[in-house]
Symmetry: C2
Amino acid sequence: TDAPTDAPRRIDLAVIPGDGIGPEVTTEAVKVLLAAVGTDVEVALTEYELGAEHWLATGETLSDATLAALRTHDAILFGAVGAAPGDTLVPSGLIEREFLLKLRFSLDHYVNLRPTRLYAGVPSPLADPGVVDFVVVREGTEGPYTGNGGTLRGGTEHEVATEVSLNTAHGVERVVRDAFRRAAGRRGKLTLVHKHNVLVYAGHLWKRIVEAVAFEFPEVEHDYLHVDAAMIFLVTDPSRFDVIVTDNLFGDIVTDLAAAVSGGIGLAASANLNMDRSAPSMFEPVHGSAPDIAGRQIADPTAAILSAALLLRHLGLDGHAARIEQAVEADIASRTGTRTTTAVGDAIAAAVS
Amino acid sequence: TDAPTDAPRRIDLAVIPGDGIGPEVTTEAVKVLLAAVGTDVEVALTEYELGAEHWLATGETLSDATLAALRTHDAILFGAVGAAPGDTLVPSGLIEREFLLKLRFSLDHYVNLRPTRLYAGVPSPLADPGVVDFVVVREGTEGPYTGNGGTLRGGTEHEVATEVSLNTAHGVERVVRDAFRRAAGRRGKLTLVHKHNVLVYAGHLWKRIVEAVAFEFPEVEHDYLHVDAAMIFLVTDPSRFDVIVTDNLFGDIVTDLAAAVSGGIGLAASANLNMDRSAPSMFEPVHGSAPDIAGRQIADPTAAILSAALLLRHLGLDGHAARIEQAVEADIASRTGTRTTTAVGDAIAAAVS
Ligand SMILES: CC(C)[C@H](C(=O)O)[C@@H](O)C(=O)O
Ligand SMILES: CC(C)[C@H](C(=O)O)[C@@H](O)C(=O)O
């Protein structure tokens, strides 16, 4: 067995398939995960129905009871949530905020980890991408995502709308330290992305904390890029990056561009980590529910499968995680023509069994 | 002469060369502008010393007196401001905020116009860019750029930093209407870029205003992209865009990526427009002061020269503007090897004379 002695013998997973292509890709991720752990680890699965479909049917958002139940699991595998564009009954963004963001915030997922790798055989939109292999450590619990703000005189010509970004030393320091740790375990280079020449208050907080934490990691080189300059480097020289640490909103922007550069969001995995382990972490593909292609067996389950690998690694099952990643890498390298969602999952599951 | 009868016979320009490569590129922009208008238009030039160098020498930021003087001109040609990284005496971002942003806000430059074109002969970092020809209409006077926010318990482990984005119906509507007008004069397609599923208050204000103004422009098709999805399209299908309208911060991010995709910020021009003409508009290359290459005659003055063309167009000298743009296009198409900053300016000036 790959499992070191302190690796778990039993894991208790919550699965949230969600909407659109969520169920299809999650089915394949679970299949591969089970195949990879085989008899080394006993896996208990509990499925939770959450998302737009469920909300439309029941009017329920994420209840305290469901949150409490989710907290009892070792980890959460998440598909995607989001209404179909035709679902005019669903207020825009409600599902994302009431389910996805509420989970990230309630379970204190302060490290939103998004590895970016251009696999051999994957076409990049860049003419000369070079070696693309970095991770984005996106803050997950504060910044412009806190929902603070409001509207005055809404709907009139005198309307004022505010958005308040909240940033705390506590919140920034823990994610910056996590990013330095990861950089120390990789190529030893950390880049802070922000916009401190304009967002002075938040920007200087981030800069000061990076400077302070850097003393604990003398082996890690660090630099700084304004978010606009980061855009340029992501398309002209993505191999300059090793670890990027940034806030919640810049992280959202940077990671979609990073995913595009490395072959698309069909391959982009993510982990919403509570590194204190005071609540379960959650693993999800970066892509959304893509209602337009749902149920047609054409969604690529690779991002969901790679997210399952991140889940196993977070639980200490590094060997099993690596096996999935290697199988995905081999599968990608040998892709020809199109396969169904199930066929991709079957092939990778067979390779890790 | 190209000048229609209502075109000005005399223009009174303020020139702010600024720091770093600002003076070099501005010299070439002025040279080309003068060559293009020839004897059709009399040009008065007044130079203003502003920027990091000036601040270090005098301690002066942009005074009310200077602002009042600048207001008397027909337009402002701006190079670049920003301290050299070695100038540790200059607080980070101070120069950008106290000069550049203060000018944009004081002179009510609510349309920050950034045309994006991939010229023939320019290598794009994209493998298959297609036809790239769109304009970004970036809001210039509000959003997260207003400097609102603050720091509580600064420097302690309990620090809280806020950034407040301010958005008004007045501010959004005027820029959205301007964007629709431009779309109507182009290929008739407008894309709003925002993040309304997370930034609900500001996002819905933008969405509602776009929907409302759209009724005035039935010939313009409009759609919406979240900023993260816009990142993906900018590298996978930039030809889908005609006019992008977005807020100040998203506009900053989108335009640097757009510039990178179309060959780099060395070619990216911009106009900070006060469309009510209650104050002079300002024309500047998107690039910064690039202190590392200053004074070495290696900066590309093309972005500054194209900004001068935008200036002439804004003043009603369309024919003269077009002549510069055509000369730049021809110059770019025939580029081989490297030339000095002056040589590029000389070549384009000769072509428009
Ligand atoms: C759906 C949306 C709320 C979410 C985000 O903005 O974080 C998504 O874009 C992501 O990156 O996971
Ligand atoms: C220098 C900086 C304040 C400025 C901005 O953020 O607007 C620059 O990046 C730009 O795009 O003109």
